[in-house]
């Protein structure tokens, strides 16, 4: 199990080294793709193994492979693989051949740091992993070197670094709180903090949870700390946007989930869950406002990420078997679906040469196959059946009703409907409205850019029809371990 978990992160690490030695664009492309494939193949059996053998810690408690971490690693490695395939086609369109090795080294570094985060058994090292994801991805966001891209990169690094310094404060205060129970010197692990949690001071526990929530919440993109997200997602190259949205946000979310479980054990679960639910509803609200009036196609997808992170926050906030299962299932489906959406947006943006929704027209006519995939993805991401996100959101709503949170459930349902209408209206414009002055024919897109869309849509459809029973049990165990009881 340890070797598999290590291979997931060693593959991208090896790729970085080799790309650094042999600076050749085609070779870098291939190495990154191979690393992503190896990561994916070794992350695939991890949830199964943890389900069979239970969670394990390795290397004197530095590394943990538990159900929650294995699940997030799987989601991350899927996005990493899909966006590496996509990047081959997309990055060739940019015409930056000589800078490609650097791009792929950074990209593999981004994959590495997002895969390492869930494995960290030490909350402090987890924090470091999250901080490193920011540093690496800033340069990916700013890769195209346009003034807007640099601005987005700068805003991203400043807002997120400021935000997660609060999470560091929360981490230090948690450790301090534990030192009253376990003595001044003890191993800082999730398990030791959980062991101390029932005996620690509740007020300080609540304060540290709130600091961590705001801190990692900035990274997750929960409103009102989401301000960096639309800029970074819209200005980076499309494969980077997919990684930011589908992989990074999940990795940051599990930090919140782990601290939430500590807060539960410390007896401050009610307030903590309440605040998380409030942030979730507010994220949905902000996303709905900006989705309805959006003009940029990639910003539309970015606000949709704010929406979906809000839904996941609601799922964990509701807690209980349904809420947690909904949130975890949502992570997987959102990873697949948002990658699909960003791939489509990147293709359309490159072939029409614009990011404005109003200037993109008749996608379905110009691109019958790719257009159909993207449209199906749009229907899926708004939570319509028969796709996976419908199942996940439905389970989250059930979780909310089961715990008696009627108002947030109603608000979530209403806002999801608003987003459904607003989001698909933009697609109506791009597909069925004819623009008077279509200057030139859109450029064709390569197979590299369409194939990963297939790879994302087919499982989405499958997951919509069939939620395997084994997964229910898997999520149920996670919910139980987290201690969803308030």
């Amino acid at each position: 199990m340890l070797s598999l978990a290590l291979v997931t992160v060693l593959a991208p690490a090896a790729a970085i080294l080799l790309i650094g030695v042999i600076r050749h664009p085609r070779f870098a492309e291939f190495l990154n793709l191979a690393a992503a494939a190896i990561s994916f193949l070794s992350a695939l059996p991890l949830p199964l193994l943890t389900a069979m053998r239970g969670p394990h810690v390795f290397w004197g408690g530095a590394i943990t492979v538990d159900r929650l971490g294995a699940w997030v690693q799987l989601c991350t490695s899927i996005v990493y693989l899909l966006s590496s395939i996509y990047a081959v086609g997309y990055m060739r369109m940019l015409g930056e051949e000589e800078r490609l090795p650097r791009f792929y080294a950074l990209f593999a570094g981004f994959g590495l740091t997002t895969l390492v985060g869930p494995m960290m058994n030490n909350p402090g090292l987890y924090w470091i992993a999250i901080e490193l994801t920011t540093l690496v991805s800033t340069f990916l966001v700013a890769f195209e070197r346009a003034a807007e891209a640099i601005e987005a990169g700068w805003k991203y690094i400043i807002v997120v670094s400021g935000g997660i310094s609060l999470a560091l404060l929360g981490t230090v205060l948690s450790y301090w709180n534990g030192s009253f129970v376990l003595g001044p010197r003890y191993d800082m692990t999730w398990a030791s903090l959980a062991r101390a949690a029932p005996h620690i001071d509740p007020m300080l526990a609540l304060l540290s949870f709130l600091l961590v929530l705001i801190g990692f919440g900035t990274k997750v993109g929960l409103a009102p700390m989401h301000t960096w997200l639309p800029d970074a997602h819209s200005e980076g190259p499309a494969p980077v946007s997919a990684m930011l949205s589908g992989a990074l946000l999940n990795t940051a979310m599990i930090g919140i989930v782990r601290y939430l479980s500590l807060a539960d054990r410390a007896g401050v679960g009610r307030v903590s869950h309440g605040v998380l639910i409030a942030l979730g509803v507010f994220s949905l609200f902000v996303a709905a406002l900006f989705i309805v009036r959006q003009e940029g196609v990639k910003r539309l997808m970015a606000y949709s990420s704010v929406e979906h992170m809000g839904v996941i926050a609601l799922g964990f906030g509701f807690g209980g078997p349904f809420g947690v299962a909904g949130a975890l299932y949502h992570m997987l489906n959102h990873s697949l679906n948002k990658s699909l959406m960003f791939f489509g947006a990147g293709n359309v943006m490159r072939s029409y040469g614009t990011k404005e929704i109003g200037r993109i027209s008749r996608v379905g006519v110009h691109f019958p196959v790719m257009g159909a995939l993207w449209l199906a993805g749009a229907v899926a991401i708004t939570g319509a059946p028969p796709f996976g996100l419908f199942q996940a959101e439905f389970s989250t709503l059930r979780g909310g009703l089961a715990t008696g949170e009627v108002f947030p459930v109603v608000a979530m349902a209403v806002l999801l409907i608003v987003i459904f209408i607003g989001f698909l209206n933009h697609f109506r414009i791009m597909y069925y409205e004819s623009v008077a002055s279509q200057a030139e024919e859109p450029r064709a897109v390569s197979t590299w850019c369409v194939a990963p869309m297939w790879c994302a849509l087919v499982p989405l459809l499958l997951l919509g029809f069939w939620w395997p029973n084994a997964l229910w049990n898997y999520f149920g165990t996670i919910a139980h371990v987290l201690g969803g009881a308030r």
Partner: protein
């Protein structure tokens, strides 16, 4: 518990260093010249290094001597030097326009300290630590947090924003030396290295900002809205 067993001499040394560091963040808050920020930051880092060493000595945590040396080298010498290079390259010796004048920001900063004191007082009372060094450590930690965010919000020059972030980190580091001296060594060392990478990344980005956006003032970076 370490905090309650300190002798009066150790407690006064710790308090003195903590208060002096807080005052230095007010120096940063109240000055125009970018260079002065850097000197104040460097001095603050030296104080923190001295604090680490004295906590190591009085509370018997020998590993803190290593932290003290690394803090002195990284935070006290290397970071200010790297930032000084950025400032030289920028040719912006002072903050041009202030959203909040230095005098007003001093007042706001002072209010922040009062708020931090109130929070620290409540927490310490809850933990039966009222009257110990913990109150002061928490106050300084939270005030430096607030002052750092104030600088981030009110200053617009790229270098000032980096320094705002570094004050946030210094505050946490200072507080954690007093509150949790037993924190795993590995973690503190990694955080120090991490800080170095952060500053290098910022330096590169500032260069990009100058070359491709033509400005390093966040006031002029407003193309992305909505």
């Amino acid at each position: 518990m370490v905090l309650t067993q300190l002798g009066p001499l150790a407690a006064s040394i710790f308090s003195l260093i903590a208060i002096a560091s807080l005052l230095l963040s007010f120096v940063m808050l109240g000055s125009h010249a970018l260079r002065h920020y850097l000197y104040a930051f460097g001095a603050q880092s030296w104080l923190i290094a001295i604090l680490s060493a004295s906590v190591g000595y009085y509370a018997n945590f020998p590993e803190l001597y290593l932290i003290a040396i690394l803090t002195f080298l990284f935070r006290g010498l290397l970071l200010p030097y790297l930032l000084l290079r950025v400032v030289r390259r920028l040719a912006v010796p002072r903050e041009p326009i202030e959203i909040l004048r230095p005098s007003s920001s001093l007042v706001v900063g002072a209010l922040g300290v009062v708020f931090a004191l109130a929070v620290a007082h409540n927490i310490s009372a809850e933990l039966n630590l009222a009257g110990t060094i913990a109150v002061l450590a928490l106050t300084v930690m939270l005030s430096m947090k607030l002052i750092g965010f104030l600088i981030l919000a009110a200053r617009q020059e790229a270098v000032s924003q980096i320094l705002g972030l570094l004050i946030l980190e210094n505050g946490i580091f200072l507080g954690s030396q007093i509150l949790v001296p037993g924190m795993p060594l590995l973690l503190e060392v990694v955080i120090l290295f991490d800080l170095l990478i952060v500053v290098v990344c910022f330096g590169v980005l500032v260069r990009y900002l100058m070359a491709h956006a033509g400005t390093t003032s966040s006031r002029e970076l407003r193309q992305l809205v909505g």
